[in-house]
Amino acid sequence: MHSTSQASHHDHGPSLRQRLAARGLDAVTLLVLPAALFLVLLFIYPFAFGLVLSFEPKAGGSWLANYSRFFADPFLYETIAKTLWLSIPTTLLNLFLAVPIAFRVRLMRNQRILTAILILPITLGTVLVAEGLLNYLGPQGWLNRTLVTFGLASQPLKLLHNYWGVFISLLLTGFPFTFLLTLSYVTGIDPALEQAAATLGAGARQRFRHVYLPLLMPGFAITFCLSFVQAFSVFPSAVLLGAPAGPTRVISIAAYQAAFEEYDYSMASAIAMIMGFVQLAIVVAILASRGLFYRGPASGAKG
């Protein structure tokens, strides 16, 4: 009697599999495994390895020796400011350029052609762009020749092997990415919202300020973070177009030199950790500020 009632209870209750499925765990969940494995092998393990390595200085001594050396040597710690001084202005400028262009492009019919043209620089990579700029911006390049020929400059502008060379290169390589992200956020906003604002008496400037801007701020924050991280890890153009011993000695150059010129992997790991921490601090600060803005869907209707 007792055992039968237990059995029937068992029959009617949901099975373990059903209960797991209700919590979102079923066979399909296993498909996450390859990606998780990939992440562990190619990101978490190297990261942990580098973190541990950075606390084992090559020359021995305190486990923080690499970090104290970095922050004691201006040749090393100044790379943080130099990298920020390149990456933040270029990212901001790219965003400021991308917004008005995205607002115009969202009304265009042949967006695809434009998108293709813009994706090209991304696929070509920074080295090719840098080499192109070496020719174009050099003292005998097209730009300077044109400026001098038309009397717009009395002598060739010095745009290479200094801050501006890297700045221009970052702008060019970063823009397509920034623009495409911005465009997707801008086109994601229901055009009826702008129309509604217009019928309520809002002019173009007010519509941007009171409708578009608040709805776009979270998207701009994400765009800024992703573009910034790209610009912060600048390396090829800083070497090829900049002054890698001077104003464009960015943090990745310091890490490179530690690893491959001094063969001090432990120091290089420490620099990489510091680099990651600076990026993380800025990204976290930006993302945290999103809390100040509306973050729901950018369309009025429920569908």
């Binding site: 129309q195 509604a196 019928t199 008496g201 709805l215 803005f293 369309s299 009025g300 209707a301």
Partner: protein, 358 residues
């Protein structure tokens, strides 16, 4: 002071046209709307009714003709300079602003003093019965509540003209009836001149003072709901007003006094006409399903075979097909087995006769 509406006498559309490339979305639309009127623009999708509304709102420039508010030409003004209130089909509420801020948006754009703004928002909230919901975001509201916010937002700026673009089409059937009554009540309280776009003849009939039926960008008929319902001027207007049975035939007699006799598949139909129908011309007989009943062979009766029969509570609605393949929808007090042979009949004054391709 309650929400007051701007003083004006009439809105006039003067030969308005709108082309999209080679497509004439609107052709030569002329219409005068008096202050306080509730006008419904009715028509099937693609007839130009939303285009008309967007042209009036200024969201779409006209390509011909002009729009006037009394003596002021408005079609050359930007939408923000016209100051017409608009209720959008998907409400277009600002998702980042709460109910009060949404309603107050237009007032804020006009730099309304704070005290006056708060008072007007309070009145609008009370009018659309949203007390207690004022600090919610649109995403937290039901469809009906979002609709109320959209209406309040459009009328709080006290516009000369309120434009509504199929405002009820996103609501379920029950809520649609409720909001229809609400729109009527708000119109009665404010007397706001309203242009209301819909494809639903019931909405147009129940709400409007006058209905404008559009088809292919052309006004087909303008009239009171009663006029349109009882005396549609064209076959397509009749179709829209529920005359679902359209039988093609030939004129065999016309007394010139509004009565014509038509031969349909050998049966004789006598009906009302407002058109000159020469004897021998092709013509259509139009009858509402409600008026087509089972009957005996004779005049105004056609033999048909029952195809389907549906239970509708108070009565049955059936479909039938004549010997020559014409389809009918009819009403019956009792069920008939499909396949049965019947005679369908309608009384003379319930039958309308239209010239072919009128």
């Amino acid at each position: 002071m309650p929400i007051a509406l701007s003083k004006f006498d009439e809105v006039r559309l003067d030969h308005v046209s709108r082309d999209f490339g080679s497509l004439n979305a609107l052709r030569d639309v002329s219409l005068t709307i008096k202050r306080g009127e509730f006008i419904a623009l009715l028509g099937p999708s693609g007839c130009g009714k939303s285009t008309t509304l967007n042209c009036i709102a200024g969201l779409l420039p006209v390509t011909g003709g002009s729009i006037w508010l009394d003596k002021t030409r408005v079609d050359t003004l930007k939408p923000e300079e016209r100051g017409f209130g608009m209720v959008f089909q998907n409400y277009a509420l600002f998702p980042h602003l709460n109910v009060r801020q949404n309603i107050g948006f237009g007032l804020k754009m006009r730099n309304t003093p704070r005290v006056e703004m708060e008072r007007k928002i309070d009145e609008a909230v009370a009018l659309v019965r949203l007390k207690g919901q004022e600090h919610k975001l649109p995403g937290q509201l039901s469809g009906g509540q979002q609709q109320r916010v959209a209406i309040a937002r459009a009328i709080v700026i006290e516009p000369p003209l309120v434009l509504m673009d199929e405002p009820l089409s996103n609501l379920d059937a029950k809520l649609r009836l409720e909001m229809r009554a609400e729109i009527r009540r708000i119109h009665n309280e404010l007397g706001a001149t309203t242009i209301y776009v819909t494809h639903d003849q019931d909405e147009a009939l129940s709400l409007a003072d006058r209905i404008v039926v559009l088809r292919d960008g052309v006004i087909r008929q303008v009239g009171t709901p009663k006029e349109l319902y009882e005396a549609p001027a064209h076959l397509d207007v009749a179709d829209f007003m529920g005359f679902r049975n359209k039988l093609k035939g030939k004129v065999i007699a016309n007394d010139g006094d509004g009565r014509a006799v038509i031969d349909v598949e050998g049966a004789t139909f006598r009906g009302v006409t407002r058109q000159a129908l020469p004897i021998g011309a092709a013509a259509f007989v139009a009858i509402r399903p409600d008026d087509l009943m089972l009957g005996e062979p004779g005049i105004n009766a056609l033999k048909a075979t029952v195809e389907t029969i549906e239970y509708r509570g108070r009565e049955f609605v059936g479909t039938a097909r004549s010997a020559q393949g014409a389809d009918f929808v009819f009403r019956s007090h009792h069920s008939i087995a499909p396949g049965g042979s019947i005679h369908l009949t309608a009384s003379d004054d319930r039958v309308l006769v239209f010239a072919d391709q009128a």
